[in-house]
Symmetry: C2
Subunit: 484 residues, 2 copies
């Protein structure tokens, strides 16, 4: 390959990108050292009470090479897919079960403040590249590539998240379960030398928010972007607001005018907006760094909108999916095809206005594969929903439709946006928690229903992702007693 | 008065009850000593960050006598009203602002296991008294006294909670705000000598539960009662199941057959049910003692079903309304008329199957009165919803209808049961949290909406009380920062 300096090289763009990433040592080494500081590989395996028993761990280990591999997947225009999942995507990295992989995830709201969230960052710049003639990543969303539906742009923004991946897990097949351990999560430091030691995120109170048609003050309706500052040095566990502005019609480099936030990655021209500084004075927002999107490719369709969460995970938007948590996902296609995106610095249960503090993050994961044949009689047998385990809790995720692609017919991907309710999501969460207690804990239905009424907390995960979510939280220590 | 030993005395029943209560020293002294152990009066007033500023506290104190009074309101057939609120009720105790009052609250599910929850307890026996000829408390619910609607019994069970009170607060008038500090909460020890040091509660998976029409196993549908044991000595912070049974048609002492749980206080004949022991083995349920119902009399109607919560509180069923918490309620009628009932040993967010661990408790409260004239410009100005403050959080309570009595017309009390949804309750919780942030914290609407999206958690309080509930939780320490 050329060194990124030979414009006549047919792969000049690609080589140049790799070269610039290689030069991006300082920021990259931060991520690596953070992983090392957290104990790295050595700290793992201690475990506690878990859905995975020692027997299951042994069975999983039997499918792993003797030595754990470590992989790094940067976020670049070549390693991301924007706004969709697809079982047809070429894997960006192949890993063995048990391997570790560090994955960079970029927020799709970085265009709200190019200076703070893109400038000087080769990976982000490659993804966000958009000139009169070309885009770093053309397709954004699962819609038509020729924008024949709404004219917004390729993919039509039917799906918005920049997803890094997919990661192909060797040996993973439909019916298996992926145990994804989130080893570490760190903010992506701002690469602009004007903001050393800082990271930034954007919160968009957008047209798809729960509040949008229910505003008190003029002008109505309106979309408002708030930019938050997050400490990237690891010293502060809170974020603070920097400024906000009202969205104004933005003309993208191809000349399309976006009156609302209808297409991801449109760079906001700050000459057209009024920045209000001095907002939320003295307010410190506790950070809860997590990934809004971690998903496996579904089998039901070739290209699937990244917005509605479903049985293989995706855009669950639960802030508890952060460092120290473990997710369990059913595998739907060969290789599992894991993608990571929608990084959040913080979010409340409900994600009310439409987005979190959307802030680029880097995660380090260990990927364990549980083969279907090893799962008979275990807590993960026939798992058909994404499940979360934290140090002290188990959580099931209910959606208005548990598998909307299968349930809502040929037009599922548009129908889902018309049919969601919290009531339906609660219904699904109830059924999943009952299933969890009856299978994993071997309770009778009557025991399960009584227990979930007196000891399980149902919360509203999100009401902005097409397929609305309710999570149910049960504490592990309920089961720690010995019958006296 | 006679000493409860002269059957010819016209007030024999009443005197006998008082006498037996006076003899009930051992159990009563437990409650008192628990209050003393918790620091009693001396411990109060330290406070922390609160909605009530020192200025507001001084203004409130100006309306209080120099010395705090202490009152004790036992639960007896003469001090409770069953299944309804009413501004017409005669106060059971009159207190000055700032006074302390200990209020005994009886569960309305004690009839599920008379031996464990009523027997030997003079107060409970007086309330639950029901022979062929008479009931200790005749009216149970806001329905017709002649049971002309369904024939279930007086009041028709349209409202179910045994409420102790009302407490008349001198000087309280419409537009004022009651600050109710929950100083202590203790389980009511079982009075049956067979169960020393224990308390018991009942969880009914009932026809009004969210699960009822969505069962997996036969027979469908069914109602199931689970009896739980709670430690009454204060040494254990968990409950455990004792046994469960399926509800069978129960014939009450007046001869009415109750095929489902359609009228409160029906004593279950255990010869007709099969007790399943050995259930939920080894499961320890963390206790969260709290009052499902604390409410002020509404002004909109003379007699109001106790089940749907509303702007004056009532059956909010939030497990956080326990020891150490403070509630703020708008006063709707003269004297405020506070009643307490529906004691719970534990409950999860959603109260899914219809009830909590329904378990008699005794609470000690301090009642502070904030006069309307003192509230201008404060966090409590024009408060028109029940608000909760804990040590570290503020919570607003959204309902499907914020004030259903005013919103749903003449048939509000039946209409409310047809119209609730979690979505509507989330809408109301969003509006209330926005109001709270814009008034109390002086944020702009845009600031409030962004903040509640990234830092406020919305949870499902209950989906079984006619008027469904969603609570929004915000941490106080968000506002502790100093702008750098």
């Amino acid at each position: 390959m050329c060194a990124g300096d030979d414009k006549s090289c047919p792969e000049y763009e690609s080589h140049r990108l790799r070269q610039s990433l290689a030069l991006d040592q300082e920021r990259r080494s931060f991520v690596k050292s953070a992983f090392a500081a957290a104990g790295g590989l050595a700290a793992l395996g201690a475990g506690g009470i878990s859905l995975v028993t020692p027997e299951m761990a042994r069975a999983a280990a039997a499918n792993q090479p003797a030595k754990r591999g470590y992989h790094h997947l940067p976020a670049t225009s070549e390693t991301v897919h924007w706004g969709y999942f697809s079982k047809k995507l070429k894997p960006q990295v192949e890993i063995d079960p048990g391997d570790f992989v560090t994955i960079e995830a970029l927020t799709h709201h970085a265009g709200d403040d190019w200076d703070r969230m893109i400038k000087g960052d080769p990976g982000a710049e490659s993804v966000y590249l958009w000139t009169r003639d070309k885009k770093g990543v053309n397709r954004r969303g699962a819609g038509p590539i020729d924008a024949s539906l709404f004219g917004r742009g390729a993919g039509e923004g039917l799906g918005v998240h920049i997803c890094t991946g997919p990661v192909f897990v060797r040996g993973a097949q439909e019916g298996d379960v992926i145990e994804l351990r989130i080893i570490d999560v760190t903010p992506r430091p701002c690469a602009n030398p004007s903001y050393p030691g800082k990271a930034f995120g954007s919160n968009a109170a957008a047209w798809w928010g729960f509040h949008y048609k229910d505003l008190l003050t003029e002008p109505k309706p309106r979309e408002v972007i708030t930019i938050y500052e997050v400490d990237a040095t690891g010293e502060r566990n809170w974020a603070k607001a920097v400024y906000n502005f009202r969205w104004t019609p933005q003309t993208d480099p191809f000349g399309v005018v976006h009156r609302t936030i209808d297409y991801p990655g449109v760079p906001v021209d700050h000459a057209t907006v009024k920045e209000n500084h001095g907002i939320l004075k003295g307010v410190r927002i506790p950070i809860r760094p997590h990934f809004g999107v971690i998903g496996l490719a579904p089998k039901e369709a070739d290209i699937v909108d990244s917005i509605p969460p479903s049985y293989t995970g995706g855009n669950i938007d639960n802030w508890r999916i952060g460092k120290g948590a473990t997710m369990y996902y059913p595998v739907a296609v060969e290789g599992a095809l894991i993608s990571v995106g929608d990084p959040h610095a913080s979010q409340g249960d409900s994600e009310l206005c439409g987005t979190a503090i959307e802030c680029s993050l880097t995660g380090t994961f260990q990927v364990v594969l549980h083969k279907k044949a090893d799962l008979a009689g275990t807590a993960l047998e026939a798992l058909d929903y994404p499940m979360l385990e934290t140090q002290n809790e188990w959580l099931v995720h209910g959606f208005s439709y548990a598998n909307y692609l299968a349930e809502l017919g040929a037009d599922a991907q548009s129908e889902i946006y018309k049919k969601s309710s919290v009531d339906l999501a609660l219904r699904d969460a109830f059924r999943k928690m009952r299933h969890f207690l009856m299978t994993t804990k071997k309770l009778s239905e009557d025991e399960a229903i009584s227990l979930m009424t007196i000891a399980v907390d149902f919360g509203i995960t999100q009401v902005v992702d097409g397929n609305w979510g309710v999570h149910a939280v049960i504490r592990k220590d309920l089961f720690s007693g010995v019958e006296a």
